[in-house]
């Protein structure tokens, strides 16, 4: 028989305002096994924890139930408190009477009744708990960073700084990501390339960092400390070790019709190409869909002209398997497709561009060499209209319900840059709200309005139509309460951003969760913002939610700190709530082996002595280091031999009984 102590937390007034905590503490006294109950204002505080420790010692408790907030919040806290008083940490159960009770019910009688039921459910389960001991597993002292943008680069640099090896896997031919495409960065207006490229060079030259560019993640298996990852190195058709990056091949290539991805399709590139001048590695790649040699078998001009003999048309994709202790996801973002927004004439007029395209137009290394020219006729636009929230904060279903966060600031930046370089240009900005929460952000926006004379119009744009080479922008001015039409030469759409298209499949491979917008979910929105709920997987940058460069870098460094903390350990404690098979009941049917997603179950032939006879039977054996404790096998087992520690059939059944009593 257990000796159970029940501790009911008030959580200040969070619980006590809607749940009669004294009544709960009183009611549970009569539950089986309960020898002590107690209520306290803040059970998680040092005062509360010391009361728990004291009660464990005074009453010789064999288990405790804490009626408090969600176990996702403080289960670890109370397990530690119990352990410090000599109790097995798995003899602690939490009754969630805050998130699942006091915060959602208003009627005090109802909430108190429910809290009592939840408490007795936890008690019923605890009566069947057994002490569990966590196993140990080793840690592979190498980290994987997925994505080579500023987030990935920063995380990798910080991890390498601490002395651990890091691999960066980047799907495009170069690292640098979105930031490499930008012209200037707000609110300081320093040039993106000037601050990014030194970091790219640092990453490439670090002896701790290994770059896998033009590579993709193919499969991920294993668990925290021991991930095994298959990386597909796509065929560049170039022998990287021979190539000097001279660029002769790109000059000779006769296939010049492919749209340049780096320049957002505003100009063309050759079939063999280096995305941009500062690309790292500075090695070209052949786009096999565009290459004449691959399409017709004739050509090969690049091969003939290459002084190093580095071109290799026969190169194949290569899949390598590497081991890692921790994984950082830094897959970044892309602008959304504007196919649902016909009213802005994006597909009809080349002079309606997205902000990222505008960024390339303004960039000195861009298609217009930094001159502000309309894409349609290469003339200088005299009136530019910026439209904010294109697809952001859109609950109609066409766009995204969230705020993309960066658009207000980069639109102010664009407007300011245009006015600075071309003071003869009229600049109008349509906005719903201007959001500038950041250091020096509001000052920056005010400068755009006050010093640079940018005309901000509160209202939405209803329609953009082309007329006589001009763009007629129809919108509403909410402050003047009138409909207006602006005759513009160029329109820039502050397009919403969304997670990269690889995020979803990657989340599945990593078993990390994503939200309805495909952003990776953090383990706790406030207290564990850089960890995914999957142990050993960390989040860096926009893959977790829209953010600007300073925030991205901060999160990247935070994720790196978490990785370093993990890799600095020699052993990790594993979750003891794993499956186990009762060999006396197992009939060797293989059902459990088939449903196990981790391959943790194998079969052994074992000798059993029964009634003087020795028989050999085939029985299931769980590898506890591999089992993650999902419980799929326990339900499949027809003989009831398989059970999950910490969540046994009897325990859950007891919970059901306690609720339905």
């Amino acid at each position: 028989m257990q000796k159970i102590g029940v501790f009911v937390c008030w959580c200040g007034s969070n619980i006590a305002a809607t749940v009669d905590v004294k009544a709960v503490a009183e009611a549970v006294k009569h539950e089986p096994g309960v020898v002590y109950s107690f209520d306290y204002q803040y059970m998680c505080s040092e005062g509360g924890q010391s009361k728990i420790r004291q009660a464990i010692l005074d009453y010789g408790l064999t288990g405790i139930v804490v009626c408090s907030c969600s176990p996702r919040m403080h289960e670890q806290t109370f397990r530690k408190a119990a352990a410090s008083a000599g109790l097995n940490p798995y003899m602690v159960e939490i009754a969630n009477i805050r998130e699942h009770c006091s915060w959602i019910h208003k009627n005090k009688d109802e909430a108190t009744e429910k809290a009592i039921i939840l408490a007795r459910t936890a008690i019923a389960k605890l009566n069947l708990n057994k002490p569990l001991v966590a196993g140990e597993s080793s840690v592979t002292k190498r980290a994987l960073v997925i994505g080579g943008g500023i987030a990935g680069i920063q995380s990798a640099l910080d991890i390498a700084e601490a002395g651990y090896e890091v691999d960066i896997v980047e799907k495009s031919p170069t690292i640098g990501g979105r930031m490499a495409q930008l012209d200037k960065t707000f609110p300081t207006l320093d040039c993106a390339a000037c601050i990014l490229t030194p970091k790219m060079v640092d990453a490439a030259s670090s002896d701790k960092i290994n770059l896998y560019t033009y590579s993709e993640i193919e499969a991920v298996s294993g668990f925290v400390g021991n991930f095994s990852v298959k990386i597909r190195k796509k065929a560049r058709s170039i022998k990287t070790e021979l190539c000097s990056g001279c660029g002769v091949c790109t000059e000779k290539c006769p296939s010049k019709k492919a749209k340049s991805e780096f320049n957002m399709g505003l100009c063309n590139r050759t079939a063999i190409y280096i995305p941009f001048a500062q690309a790292i590695p500075n090695v070209p790649v052949i786009d096999r869909e565009q290459c004449i040699k691959f399409k017709t078998g004739k050509c090969g001009l690049c091969q003939k002209s290459c002084p190093a003999g580095a071109i290799d048309f026969t190169q194949q994709d290569e899949v390598v398997e590497r081991q890692y202790g921790a994984i950082v996801v830094a897959t970044g973002f892309k602008p959304i497709s504007l196919e649902n927004f016909d009213e802005f004439s994006y597909s009809l007029s080349p002079d309606v561009v997205t902000s990222l395209e505008f960024e390339r137009i303004m960039n000195a290394a861009g298609p217009t060499k930094g001159q502000l020219l309309r894409p349609s006729d290469n003339t200088h636009p005299h009136t530019i209209v910026f439209v904010q929230c294109v697809g952001s904060r859109d609950t109609s279903g066409c766009g995204k319900p969230y705020c993309s966060k960066i658009c207000c600031m980069y639109t102010a930046k664009h407007a300011m840059l245009v006015r600075e370089k071309y003071p003869d240009t009229e600049v109008h900005v349509f906005y719903i709200d201007v959001r500038t929460p950041g250091k020096n952000f509001d000052e920056f926006y005010r400068r755009a309005v006050e010093e640079y004379g940018v005309n901000y119009i509160k209202g939405m744009v209803g329609k953009i139509a082309e007329k006589n080479g001009k763009l007629m922008v129809q919108g509403s001015d909410l402050l003047a309460n009138e409909q207006i039409v602006i005759e513009a030469d160029m329109v820039v759409l502050a397009t919403a951003i969304e997670p990269d298209e690889t995020a979803k499949s990657l989340a599945t491979m990593l078993t990390a969760s994503i939200d309805t917008n495909n952003f990776f979910t953090e383990a706790h929105p406030k207290l564990r913002p850089v960890e995914s709920p999957t142990a050993g997987v960390y989040l860096s940058g926009v893959c977790q939610g829209p953010k600007d460069i300073p925030e991205t870098v901060a999160q990247a460094t935070a994720a790196a700190a978490k990785v370093i903390g993990l890799l600095s350990k020699d052993k990790l404690l594993s979750n003891p709530c794993v499956a186990g098979s009762d060999e006396m009941l197992c009939n060797g049917c293989s059902g459990c082996e088939k449903v196990c997603p981790y391959g943790a179950i194998s079969y052994i032939d074992k000798e059993f002595k029964a009634a003087g006879k020795v028989e050999v039977r085939r029985v299931a054996k769980v590898n506890e280091a591999i089992c993650q404790g999902c419980g799929a096998c326990t339900v499949t087992c027809p003989s009831g031999a398989m059970d999950l520690k910490g969540f046994t059939n009897r325990q859950i059944m007891a919970e059901v009984d306690a609720i339905c009593r």
């Binding site: 959602i104 709920p533 999902c630 339900v635 059939n649």
Partner: protein
């Protein structure tokens, strides 16, 4: 047997919700943090994964007088353990059709996907499920199987 009447004599159903630890339990936490209410008759049992829900648990709940059982897991493709929710979906499809045959109406059983970010969905799902159970009334048919009149 649990008391199914509130003080003013209204039918107060008993609903057992199995929630997976990674998505739906966190979704329920978020509903709580966001103060999104749903009826107190919903009681949540935490399981590591929706695939941990043994059909026995559902049967047991009905046997002990539950009026409705709902199982919540991660969205298909998002399972923390990759494939657990697919097993849950298939098992429960079979179980629910058998329960329907036994006289436990389809409306009393449900599988729903709620992610950790969907506090609003969790509360909506629970409100709707509870309303369905209210409309169906007490789960009497199985009560008959238990020879309730002899127990009273």
């Amino acid at each position: 047997m649990p008391i199914k009447k509130s003080k003013n004599g209204e039918f107060k159903p008993l609903i057992v919700a199995f929630c997976c630890n990674w998505c739906s339990y966190a979704g329920a936490d978020l509903a709580g943090t966001s103060r999104l209410s749903y009826p107190a008759e919903v009681k949540i049992i935490r399981v590591p994964c929706s695939c941990r829900v043994n059909p026995m648990f559902v049967l047991r709940a009905f046997q002990r007088g539950a009026d409705g059982v709902i199982i919540c897991g991660c969205h298909p493709g998002d399972c923390h353990y990759s494939t657990g929710n697919y097993y849950a979906r298939r098992r429960m499809t079979l179980l629910f059709s058998m329960l329907d045959y036994l006289g436990i109406e389809r409306g009393r059983t449900k599988v729903e996907w709620v992610s950790a970010a969907e506090g609003v969905k969790f509360s909506t799902v629970m409100n709707e499920f509870s309303k369905t159970i209210h409309d169906l009334g007490e789960n009497k048919k199985l009560g008959d199987l238990r020879c309730k009149e002899f127990l009273d």
